[in-house]
């Protein structure tokens, strides 16, 4: 992941992100923003969630937006399922192809195995607890903002990439009458189309939380330096830091 670059000023530059990671990251940002906005549009056009194979107005719901102060009609004015569907499926393809390129490339290059797979010694309860305590300390110790992934970071990225994303794709296509005709196992996997739709929506909320934490972490580690490194690949390490 890192190689030492030239020294400049009062510090040195570390080669942090490969071109593949940088390009895929920003394409992913665009795709996720569109997926989120278009998903909200689709949801607002039918702002209730159900469990099982069926769900419609009048059917017992597990979530109703009207319980939260936004009536069906008000939501309908805000949402637009046509715009939502067109852009959701378009950027689902962008997201999927970009994700496969990213995952395939970095599996082949060993990036996941080398830098993101937690080592056995990192997975002990004591180590994880110590790292969590250290991580939540404020103000942060400077040596924490280094160029290596922490165990918690490794775990969240691995879960995100290899568990969360596949589940979001599967709960998405489990709602399609065309795909479930050919692959009915998708319906059984989640216990019904409406369950898949609800999980897909809850997953969206989880992703928003992830992005909030992700942005807070970037802020804590130095916005300019970190965002710049996602464009140029290089992270500036001040004098005296490892």
């Amino acid at each position: 992941m890192t190689s030492e670059g030239q020294r400049s000023g009062g510090g040195r530059w570390l080669r942090l992100h490969s071109p593949n990671v940088r390009v895929c990251h920003w394409i992913n940002v665009i795709a996720c923003v569109y997926l989120f906005l278009s998903g909200v549009h689709i949801f607002l056009d039918f702002p209730e969630l159900y469990w099982g194979h069926t769900g419609y107005q009048g059917h017992p719901a597990i979530f109703k937006l009207s319980d939260w102060g936004l009536s069906w009609d008000e939501a309908g004015v805000l949402g637009n399922r046509m715009w939502g569907r067109n852009y959701h499926f378009t950027f689902a393809w962008v997201f999927l192809i970009n994700g496969l390129v990213y995952a395939g490339w970095n599996l082949a290059r060993g990036h996941f195995r080398r830098n993101m797979l937690p080592r056995r010694t990192e997975l002990t309860r004591r180590h994880l607890w110590a790292e969590l305590c250290e991580h939540l300390r404020w103000p942060r110790r400077t040596h924490e903002s280094t160029h290596r992934y922490g165990t918690l970071q490794k775990l969240s990225y691995m879960l995100l990439i290899f568990v969360y994303v596949p589940l979001m794709v599967l709960t998405g296509i489990a709602q399609s009458p065309g795909i479930t005709a050919a692959v009915p196992q998708l319906l059984d996997m989640f216990g019904g189309r409406q369950t898949a739709r609800s999980l897909h929506t809850f997953g969206t909320v989880l992703l928003v939380l992830f992005v909030v934490v992700h942005l807070l972490e970037v802020a804590a580690a130095g916005v300019v330096n970190r965002v710049r490194s996602m464009f140029t690949g290089n992270l500036r390490v001040p004098e005296g830091e490892s």
């Binding site: 039918f46 069926t54 689902a92 393809w93 599996l107 009458p177 005709a181």
Partner: protein
């Protein structure tokens, strides 16, 4: 290791593609009648192509048990077309309702509701999947569309789409791949009873592998055509003219 995986994927993919070519699948199977521009149009084709590749052996949409049926079956959009002719036919119990089957068929024919009820019927308990997000299960009964076209001597070799006109002023179309599917029926019965008005009396289309907006209600006439360019804005249906993807498999 990555090389081994890619080879396996490749070897698995070749018979699939070969099968597709051998079964004589046409371009229509993968491409909508009017391709939209830009990224959205490219995604349309990927979506339709993926669906149709998975559906190449015409699998049936899941059929459920009687106990799964949703009561009462929801109604959406138009539930009582204000069309004068429709209202007259409805008052007469649809005895005077007729379905013209015309276009690229051997001998155009006009069928009464009794004619259609005399044809061998298929009964299927399936999920209606609305593009809005809701879904409900109902038991639909009616002849396969393919069988109805046979009453007119069958679709000719140049047939590419079947266009449906309805009493609520809609038109919609499906391609011959969807026509050939065993679950593509014209339903006159829902849950064992005459099709209720809210669900499209006297006859509606059931296309079980596509979303709600393809399953048009209140059928008025059927045309077999080689192009949908002459209808509406040419996208193949009112919803598609308006901006929805013509292929409603997702």
């Amino acid at each position: 290791m990555s090389q081994r995986i890619s080879r396996r994927v490749l070897l698995g993919g070749i018979p699939g593609l070969g099968g597709l070519l051998l079964t004589g699948c046409s371009r229509d199977m993968f491409v909508p009648p009017q391709v939209r521009g830009g990224l959205v149009g490219a995604a349309d084709m990927l979506t339709m192509g993926t669906n149709r590749f998975l559906q190449r052996d015409q699998p049936l949409a899941r059929e459920y048990q009687r106990s799964d049926i949703s009561h009462p079956f929801p109604t959406w959009a138009q539930t009582n077309p204000p069309d004068e002719e429709y209202q007259r036919l409805r008052r007469g119990g649809f005895t005077e309702w007729r379905l013209p089957v015309s276009g690229l068929v051997e001998r155009p024919v006009t069928l009464s509701l009794d004619d259609i009820k005399r044809l061998p019927a298929r009964t299927q308990i399936t999920a209606h999947v609305c593009e809005q997000g809701w879904s409900a299960i109902g038991e639909w009964t009616g002849p396969q569309l393919q069988r109805v076209l046979e009453e007119a001597g069958g679709a000719g070799p140049s047939a590419r789409y079947v266009v449906f006109h309805t009493y609520d002023g809609w038109y919609e179309s499906i391609d011959m791949f969807e026509v050939a599917h065993p679950q593509t029926i014209l339903a006159y019965r829902l849950n064992g009873e005459e099709l209720p008005m809210g669900n499209g009396a006297p006859l509606r289309l059931r296309v079980e592998r596509q979303c709600g907006y393809k399953n048009v209600k209140f059928l008025k006439s059927i045309e077999v055509v080689d192009s949908v360019a002459g209808y509406g804005k040419g996208a193949g249906g009112i919803s598609a003219d308006y901006g929805f993807h013509w292929f409603a498999g997702v």
